[in-house]
């Protein structure tokens, strides 16, 4: 017996090592059987703060509780997060998206202020929107570019903002919501400078202030934090995108998990939990996106 016991331990270890990298994405029954929900999160604004909390962290913790399973936060970054979910690398070629290679699946769902983008929808299942967003153009306070006045016509404001960029250098972050390809900024003669020192969108403003470029893109959730944090050092020129939706993302083969999440989301909107989370992590955001939150109500 003792000999068998000694042999069984290394065999189990081998099996675990072999099984982990090739563990595929799981739908609801598998997660319930496993008893754990793996949440893929990126340190980004107040969605996933990096200190163990954040809007999406609490949201998915609640979802795990709703499913009756344990919760585990798995950190990722914007370049790897889809690969960590699907076990495949995403290759974009124009509008075409392909999945290549085999990689370890590290999580069951993404929830990290993840923007709903058409190319992502080709490979992911999105939940109902969990949060609104928008991408802005910012400049240093001493920039000669004057912010637009703003009007009731968002498309006109976007156009006016884009024209202000001219030939100036623009700080962007590819594969994220700050990817210039998402907003037709490529091929317009703009000097696009991809920020690659970090995969954290939170660092866009420090980079701009560090003179990495004349201008930068910045999403509204970050903007709300940075305008307090870096007050008086940069200014918002105008909108680059229309209002966007952020949502949780799931593998295409996990529809039951996605549907369960939607039911859970509806439930916390009804019982007030959702509002509490919004007010906790983004106080004032309702004032910025009144239409989105009116719909939620």
């Amino acid at each position: 017996m003792t000999r068998y016991r000694l042999l069984s331990l290394p065999m189990l270890l081998v099996c675990w090592v072999l099984a982990s990298p090739i563990a595929s994405a799981a739908d609801l029954p598998e997660i319930q059987a496993r008893g754990e929900l793996r949440h893929l999160g990126i340190r980004y604004a107040n969605f996933v703060t990096g200190t163990g909390d954040g809007f999406d962290v609490e949201l998915i913790q609640g979802f795990a509780g709703y499913l009756g399973v344990a919760y585990r936060l798995v950190y990722s970054d914007f370049y790897s997060v889809i690969r960590d979910l699907l076990g495949k690398n995403v290759v974009r070629s124009g509008d075409r998206v392909t999945l290549e290679g085999d990689y370890p699946v590290k999580g069951d769902m993404i929830a990290t202020g993840f923007t709903v983008l058409p190319w992502r929808e080709q490979v992911l299942l999105y939940s109902e929107p969990t949060f609104p967003s928008q991408v802005m153009l910012i400049a240093r306070a001493d920039s000669p570019i004057q912010p637009i006045k703003g009007s009731d016509d968002l498309l006109k404001d976007i156009q006016e903002t884009k024209e202000l960029i001219g030939k100036r250098s623009l700080l962007v972050m590819e594969k994220t919501c700050l990817d210039p390809a998402n907003y037709g900024l490529k091929g317009r003669g703009i000097e696009l400078r991809a920020y690659t020192k970090s995969t954290n969108i939170n660092e866009m403003v420090p980079a701009l202030l560090h003179l990495d470029a004349d201008l930068s893109l910045l999403d509204v959730p970050d903007l709300m934090l940075d305008m307090q944090k870096w007050s008086g050092t940069f200014k918002v020129i105008g909108p680059i995108s229309e209002e966007q939706a952020l949502a949780a993302a799931f593998p295409k083969d996990a529809p039951q998990l996605r549907d369960a999440f939607n039911v859970y989301l509806q439930q916390i909107k009804t019982d007030g939990t959702y509002d509490r989370l919004v007010n906790k992590y983004y106080p004032g955001v309702k004032r910025y996106f009144p239409a989105f939150f009116a719909e939620q109500d």
Partner: protein, 926 residues
């Protein structure tokens, strides 16, 4: 008293009393000082407590001021102003900062609490232009006071809205950056006031410097003026309410004796404390009581001395009182008796006054006129209704006599009435009165005598009632249009005249008149003109006869004249009656100017005269004789006079007999239809005309020329017409059931009276439906006179019937006033050339020309023409030559019963062949 008479003892007692009083004085002084110290301590404690309350309130206000200053410096506002200076748009940048400011404000709101409740209701951030940038309670109405342009922090009490408003300016790089404003409820301050929480026997409330009360408690105790007086009280000084006259009437004056005003720092507010003195000072024995207690022994001493003296006086007085009481009892009894008598008399006087007042009121408001006169008839009193009745004022009437109110011809009546009343005590009569305006009225007077030879008359104006009675009488016996006696009065007068005639054996005459063609005038000129003619005729009739004769109108255009006393000889009477009739005839023959601008109207009259002597004949029979004579006059061509004679009666009787027989014939079905064939140019039978025959059993047939006019006149033509229509439809159905006779068209004659019946169209429609025949096989023959009378109505009915499929033929065409214009308008299918033209076709050029013209005209109008009474081949040839296509007459067949009508196989003879049918007669009537 014996005790006090002993002098040493008296002095001893006095000494004891003095010593005791001194002792009490010392005691009083000591107590008084203690009491002063206690009162000063209680007042000091009250002042300290009130000061503490005022300080707490002042601190709260100061906190609000410092709080708003701190809010104006929060870094979120600074960030907003920095970004605003960078030119960020409100929509895409600054709104984020405003959201942060709002969040910070909300956080502050929840942090600041007082005694478990939020201190602040609302925090706002407004820009320099007073536009609201942040408002923690955006849904609430914005108080106009919540605005600030003061560049220094300040605190404001909004008494009207019960708010404390603190504002502080925001500075950014030494430039104004708007204002932060906090709003809290004034009720917060009440929380510091003792009286608002616990009833400790005293009240505290808050008043503004303006005198406005800021706490609810004070509003129930003070009005606005009293509150203003409180606000003006000297501060920090306890004042007795009784020293304040303005508060004497306030509810608080009942429960509270003391009032204290304590100003609140940082504001113009004051804390007012009111309390009862007993609460402040406790149960300290009052100073008055101490004085009183110390003086009691002395008082007792002096009281004993005084009582001794008083007792002596009392004994003397007692004796006086006993005597006085006796006198007083006697006086009381007399006084009571006098009072009772006075009361009784006052009651009687009051009742009398009430009674008089009641009667006076009744007389003043009585609806009837009340006249009071003396025994000479001079009016001494009248009521308002009497004044209204005769139109004089009361003052005028009191100068008049009763005879002054009578019409001149009734003075004697009035005087007699007065005498009757005075003699009998009462009198009633209807009396004429002349009003001041000269109009006469009729009054129903009931007069009675009063004491002092006065007469009181109660008079009711019955003028209108009398007038109405006269009008009713007039309506009952007179014709309202002409004013002539009506039938009822005529009968009455005729009866009287016949009675007189019976007594005197004198002849009289009854003349019945009827205006010729009056109906035409009515129809063409309207009823107004007709009525004018009737009235004018009445005037001329009255003018033409003797005064004693009676002219009456029976209705319509029928008048009757009755003339009596025509002598005892019949011939003379007839001659005289004829004279009267001719005079009337001439008078009515004159032209009438009935309407301005129109030519004078000429009218003639027919007159029937019947003589009578005595009352052998009844009134009805006499009038009937006159009517018969009138009928004869009408038949004689109108505009003439006829006397009744027995032959006329015979004719009337014969007519009545015939009418009875005709009614029986209808009931016993003695009427039958005969059918006369109608053929085309080739001699083919294309239809027939149904003709009515009366075949009494056991006697000779009655000519249609006799019974058809009678039926028209009596209205029997209506049931007969229905009978004809039903039987014709029955025959038509039999024909239509046979293919060989299915196309035959059956014509029936329709009388004017029948056609104009309101239900004629419905009758035809129902009969056709009930018979289930094809209406196209039925043709109605109408005469010219029928269609020209009420032509529009006739056209309407013809079109309705034509829509059902019926055809129309104009019968006897050419014999009347053929109007081509009407002919064009009428929806006719056929005209029938009258047999009178056809009969003399060969000999009379005029007839030939007329027939040719009729044929040409009918062709041009697209109408079929059928010639009646064709008896010879020559006539037929002439008609064929000039385009006539249909024929009817003996040449082709006589009217026969249906069983003798050609059999279907004989309906198409060779041309020129005359169909032989049993002869019956040439008249055709249906």
């Amino acid at each position: 008293m014996v005790l006090f008479r002993t002098t040493p003892l008296r002095w001893l007692l006095l000494l004891v009393a003095v010593v005791f009083s001194f002792y009490l004085l010392l005691l009083l002084t000591n107590v008084y000082h203690s009491q002063r110290q206690l009162r000063a301590a209680a007042e000091a404690r009250l002042l300290a407590e009130s000061q503490q309350t005022a300080t707490l309130i002042g601190d709260l206000l100061a906190d609000q001021e410092s709080f708003v200053i701190d809010l104006a410096k929060i870094h979120e506002i600074g960030t907003f102003l920095v970004n605003n200076a960078l030119g960020m748009s409100m929509r895409y940048g600054l709104s984020t900062n405003l959201a942060a400011i709002e969040e910070r404000f909300r956080s502050k709101l929840t942090q600041k609490r007082l005694l478990g409740a939020d201190i602040y209701e609302r925090i706002l951030y407004v820009d320099e232009a007073q536009a609201t940038l942040v408002d923690t309670d955006p849904d609430a109405a914005l108080d106009p006071q919540i605005r600030s342009s003061d560049q220094e922090p300040h605190l404001m009490i909004d008494e009207a809205h019960g708010k404390i408003i603190a504002s502080a300016p925001v500075r950014y790089r030494d430039k104004p950056g708007g204002f932060v404003i906090t709003v809290s409820s004034l009720d917060l301050l009440s929380r510091y006031l003792t009286s608002s929480r616990v009833d400790l026997g005293f009240r505290q409330f808050l008043v503004a410097g303006s005198g406005q009360s800021l706490t609810d408690a004070s509003r129930t105790l003070l009005d606005a003026t009293q509150t203003r007086h409180l606000a003006a009280l000297p501060p920090r000084r306890l004042i007795h309410v009784s020293e304040l006259p303005s508060l004497a009437t306030a509810p608080l004056a009942k429960d509270y004796d003391l009032v204290l005003r304590m100003p609140v720092a940082h504001s113009d507010l004051s804390v007012i404390t009111v309390l009862p003195a007993s609460l402040l000072y406790g149960h300290i024995t009052s100073r008055g009581f101490l004085f009183f207690a110390s003086s009691v022994p002395l008082i007792l001493l002096f009281a004993a001395l005084w009582l001794g003296r008083m007792r002596q006086r009392a004994q003397r007085l007692e004796a006086d009182v006993l005597e006085s009481n006796r006198n007083r009892a006697e006086l009381q009894d007399r006084n009571d008796a006098l009072t009772a008598e006075i009361f009784r008399r006052k009651t009687l006087e009051h009742q009398l006054r009430e009674s008089e007042e009641r009667y006076r009121t009744y007389i003043e408001h009585a609806p009837e006129g009340i006249f009071v006169s003396d025994n000479l008839g001079r009016l001494v009193d009248v009521n308002p209704s009497a004044c209204v009745m005769v139109g004089y004022t009361r003052a005028e009437l009191l100068t008049m006599a009763v005879t002054d109110l009578s019409p001149p011809d009734m003075v004697r009546t009035h005087a007699d009435a007065l005498e009757q009343v005075l003699a009998n005590g009462r009198h009633e009569l209807e009396i004429g009165l002349r009003r001041k305006d000269g109009t006469d009225i009729v009054g129903s007077l009931r007069a009675i005598t009063l004491p002092d030879d006065l007469v009181m008359g109660f008079c009711v104006d019955i003028t209108e009632r009398k007038r109405a009675e006269e009008q009713i009488h007039s309506l009952a016996y007179f014709d309202p249009l002409t004013g002539l006696p009506n039938r009822r009065l005529l009968h009455d007068r005729l009866r009287q005249l016949m009675a007189g005639s019976d007594r005197n054996r004198e002849y009289g005459a009854v003349m019945m008149l009827d205006l010729d063609r009056f109906k035409d005038l009515n129809d063409t000129q309207g009823h107004d003109i007709g009525d004018r003619l009737l009235a004018e005729v009445a005037l001329r009739l009255v003018a033409s006869v003797r005064r004693e004769d009676t002219v009456a109108r029976l209705g319509g255009d029928e008048y009757v004249i009755i003339a009596g006393e025509l002598g005892t000889e019949e011939s003379a009477a007839a001659l005289q009656a004829e004279h009267i009739a001719e005079k009337v005839h001439r008078a009515l023959d004159q032209p009438y100017a009935l309407a301005e601008g129109r030519p004078a109207h000429h009218s003639s009259v027919s007159i029937g005269v019947a003589l009578f002597c005595g009352r052998d004949l009844g009134v009805e029979l006499l009038l009937k004789q006159a009517d018969v004579a009138l009928y004869q006059a009408k038949n004689a061509g109108r505009n003439t006079i006829r006397f009744f004679n027995p032959e006329m009666q015979a004719a009337i009787d014969a007519r009545a007999t015939l009418e009875t027989a005709l009614r029986r014939a209808i009931e016993h079905e003695e009427l039958r239809l005969y059918f006369q064939p109608q053929v085309d140019q080739d001699g083919r039978v294309i239809g027939a005309e149904a003709l009515l025959r009366w075949l009494p059993p056991g006697s000779a047939p009655v000519s249609p020329a006799r019974f058809i006019p009678l039926a028209e006149e009596t209205g029997l033509i209506i049931p007969i017409g229905i009978w004809v229509l039903e039987h014709a439809c029955e025959q038509l159905r039999a024909w239509q059931a046979n293919p060989q006779t299915g196309d035959l068209v059956l014509s029936i004659n329709v009388s004017a009276r029948q056609f104009h019946q309101p239900d004629f169209v419905d009758l035809v429609r129902d009969t056709i439906a009930a018979s289930r025949v094809d209406a196209r096989g039925l043709k109605l023959e109408l005469t010219e006179s029928l269609v020209l009378d009420r032509v529009d109505q006739v056209i309407g009915r013809m079109q309705t019937l034509k829509a059902l499929g019926l055809g129309f033929s104009l019968d006897d065409f050419g014999t009347g006033y053929s109007s081509l214009s009407y002919l064009k308008r009428l929806p006719l299918d056929q005209v029938k050339i009258d047999q009178s033209f056809v009969r003399d076709l060969a000999h009379d050029q005029n007839d030939a020309a007329i027939v040719k013209a009729v044929l040409a005209m009918s062709q041009s109008l697209g109408l079929d023409a059928v010639a009646e009474g064709v008896e010879t081949e020559d006539q037929r040839a002439f008609l064929v030559k000039h385009g006539c296509q249909q024929f009817q007459g003996f040449l082709f067949g006589k009217p026969v019963p249906i069983e003798d009508f050609p059999a279907p196989e004989r309906l198409q003879p060779a041309p020129g062949v005359v169909l032989e049918f049993p002869e019956f007669g040439r008249n055709k009537h249906a």
